[in-house]
């Protein structure tokens, strides 16, 4: 097993911090001031940061994508995904109160108010869970919606006030990256850097408490403190994401990139990298699409960007992807089918004591109790893998040396296993066939060697038939010069 040093992770995260810091925002105007027609031209302008007007929006969106992706990874592996959802809705009253502080969209006041509201919300969830018989999902839904309702009441009350600059407060619901100013981006950068630093410094602690809370406790790690630390960081990230993504969809920025990363790797460090990257990409995509139209909200586009990544990972992930799994299953099924056909050909040959080389389709179909058509199709499949050659207008199949070897190997696997089951497991000889039918396709080289040794190189199976030997395997290649020794029966190496 490869050992992954925490220092590599730590160093790489510090590099990330450096990248974030060095890309400090220059002065810029708002996105809405620009008029363009060509989408490609817009895309180039947008992503090269050449357009000063969109630097804030793009930079802010990407940074918060990184931040949300990193923190989201932990809540996904801790199975707390919907805590993020509850938290994001619960901050709304805090946003409203922060706005009331000095009747303006002061980022610091809103930040403080929202963080407090979010933390109060999560504490209430914990409290409800501990003191009533309501379950976690009910408690989450209850807090989420109740806090949100309080927030809505406050917002509607603020909106009828005669004083104060109220513009933009409604943008907190669905997010508008274009409304971000230098202060907002600075705040986002600070929180992102803070999250990255804390994760880098306490990587081991976070990892341990996420995967094995019991061990962490026994080993003396302050699991509770780490939990609350994570909650605090989560609250921070939700609050900074509000302006670009909006209250309603922040949770998606936490969950979706992390879940996509979770489908692609089994290592936490790689998952963090991937999630941060996906979050950043989703942020950039969201900011870009909302930049294309005059009244398009940013949040939904970011979420859809993240969802697209998730869908791709879900379908085509190399190990866990649905399509990949389906493909693997299909090719396995086809291989088993081929091996069964080869085995039947061997049986036909064996029945006439290996007189003559060809197996006609008729013999094969009778042996397999199938129609001629099916037999023809299977033989065609074998031919495309160069396991047989066809002669006499495709009616007679001849095993190639490779086909002969594979057929022998399968029959050998089958009979060895049958013998093993009767000898070692004392199963009656008429009960072992079914099991051997399955196992013959998956026995590896090592196991076959082991079986041979245990069975003392026996030559007949429980039904009194001969087990193909190494000599039989060579017989098929008699006409050809052999350059390599055979090392096993399942596969040639």
């Amino acid at each position: 097993m490869k050992h992954y040093s925490p220092f590599t992770v730590r160093h790489s995260l510090f590099v990330l911090v450096f990248v974030c810091l060095s890309a400090s925002p220059a002065h810029a105007a708002k996105i809405g001031d620009l008029v363009h027609t060509n989408v490609l031209e817009q895309a180039i302008d947008f992503f090269t940061f050449r357009e000063p007007a969109v630097r804030f929006a793009l930079l802010g969106s990407m940074l918060l994508g990184i931040c949300c992706g990193l923190l989201g990874s932990f809540i996904v592996v801790r199975k707390m995904a919907l805590v993020g959802d509850a938290l994001s809705h619960a901050v709304l009253p805090g946003v409203a109160l922060g706005f009331l502080w000095n009747m303006s969209k002061d980022p610091i006041a809103i930040f403080v108010g929202a963080t407090i509201a979010g933390l109060v919300g999560t504490s209430v969830v914990t409290l409800i869970k501990q003191t009533t018989r309501l379950k976690e999902d009910t408690a989450l839904g209850l807090v989420l919606a109740s806090f949100f309702a309080v927030g809505i009441c406050l917002l509607t009350m603020i909106q009828r006030l005669p004083t104060g600059n109220k513009t933009g407060i409604d943008k907190f619901l669905f997010g508008q990256a274009a409304a971000m100013g230098a202060d907002d981006v600075r705040l986002i950068a600070i929180v992102t850097v803070l999250s990255i630093t804390i994760i880098a410094l306490f990587y081991k602690e976070f990892l341990l408490t996420s995967f094995d809370a019991g061990f962490a406790k026994v080993a003396g790690f302050p699991a509770q403190a780490i939990h609350y630390g994570l909650m605090l960081l989560l609250a921070f990230s939700v609050v900074i994401a509000l302006q670009a993504v909006g209250v309603v969809l922040v949770s998606a920025m936490l969950i979706t990139p992390a879940a996509a990363a979770y489908l692609l790797t089994d290592r936490m460090s790689r998952m963090l990298w991937l999630a941060a990257f996906f979050g950043m990409a989703a942020g950039a995509v969201g900011a870009f699409f909302s930049y294309l139209g005059p009244n398009l909200p940013t949040g939904p586009f970011m979420v859809l960007g993240a969802t697209a990544v998730f869908v791709l990972a879900f379908l085509f992930g190399p190990r866990h992807g649905v399509v990949m799994r389906w493909w693997r299953q299909r090719s396995r099924a086809q291989r088993i089918q081929r091996e069964n056909t080869l085995k039947s050909m061997y049986h036909v040959l064996e029945a006439r004591e290996f007189k003559g080389d060809g197996v006609s389709l008729r013999e094969l179909s009778e042996r397999r109790r199938e129609t001629i058509e099916e037999a023809k199709q299977q033989v065609g499949d074998l031919r495309s893998h160069a396991l047989v050659t066809l002669q006499e207008e495709g009616n007679v199949a001849f095993l190639t040396p490779e086909g002969w070897q594979l057929a022998c190997a399968i029959v050998r696997n089958h009979r060895l296993w049958e013998l093993y089951l009767t000898n070692a497991a004392h199963i009656a000889a008429d009960h072992v066939h079914e099991d051997a039918e399955k196992i013959e396709h998956v026995l590896g080289e090592e196991v076959v060697r082991d079986l041979e040794r245990r069975l003392e190189y026996a030559t007949t199976d429980p039904h009194g038939r001969r087990i193909p030997s190494l000599a039989d395997l060579r017989r098929g290649g008699a006409g050809r010069e052999r350059t390599e020794e055979l090392v096993g029966y399942g596969r040639r190496s």
């Binding site: 009910t138 989450l140 509607t156 879940a259 909200p297 939904p300």
Partner: protein, 330 residues
Amino acid sequence: MSELIPSFDPQHVLVMPWTSGLSSYGWSMLMGFFVAIACGLIGNYLILRRMALVGDAISHSVLPGIAIAFLLAKSRGALPMFLGALAAGIVTTILIEIIHKKSRVKQDAAIGITFSSLFAIGVILISLYASRVDLDQECVLYGEIGNVWIDTPVTIAGISLGPATVVRMGVVALITALLIVMFYKELLVSSFDSGLAFSLGINATVVHYALMCMLSVIVVSAFESVGAILVIAMLILPGATASLVSHRLPVILGLTVLHAALSAVLGLHVALWLECSIAGAMVVVGAFLFVLAWIFSPSQGLLRRWLWNRVEIPDDVAPAPVPSGRAPAS
């Protein structure tokens, strides 16, 4: 700050809605009551089945269903809207199921991914076709229950029944109540003991999907008036409050109705006083009632638990079981 909370005018807040304002605010109260009843009744089963957050998911994801139905049918008719919501509800349930069964993503993350994506699609559709879809983003979030009385009235046999939205919601609430009474046993058994349900021949999958369909219909009828997120509160709050007070399902269902009525009526008065969103105020009152139940519930309230813990029980007296929110093992 003083401007934020207007002075309390009893005439305006307490008397007006029942006298001169009855023709408008009365309908709002009735609408709130119907929404809370329908949502609360079905919400009880969501809570029992630990599916409260599936309710959350469906309440978000009916939005694209409604938007697409609007765009296809080019009208705001009830039928396309119901169909769109039904389709969206079923798609949500199936998607959550697929993501969580076919990959190693857990159910909570699957719920989060599904509803946020669908909701995002809905919001984008609305903002792209704002002129054609008769919905705006704010309405999606907190509804327009104050305006239900403007809706065209429904008349049957010459008798005006009331605004179409309210009548529709009333019918939905009635159907919900009827269905729950009719299939009481099936719902009860399949919610509490799936093994028993199976041996009684109750198809749990059918019950599950029927519940989801009903939920979608309720959510879509409530959607316009209370919005996507407050629907969640309407779904969970009444049931959660009632289940803190009683352990018996019939009593819980009855208390749900009481909670619905109280939060609708009191919510309207609060909204008039504070001049804020009516639906929001109804939920706030509902949440307040929940907090009251949490503290003062006779069987398991915080106060009672606190008193229990203070009383010293002599050793020779067999200790009565302290009401506990959680099983001792967990």
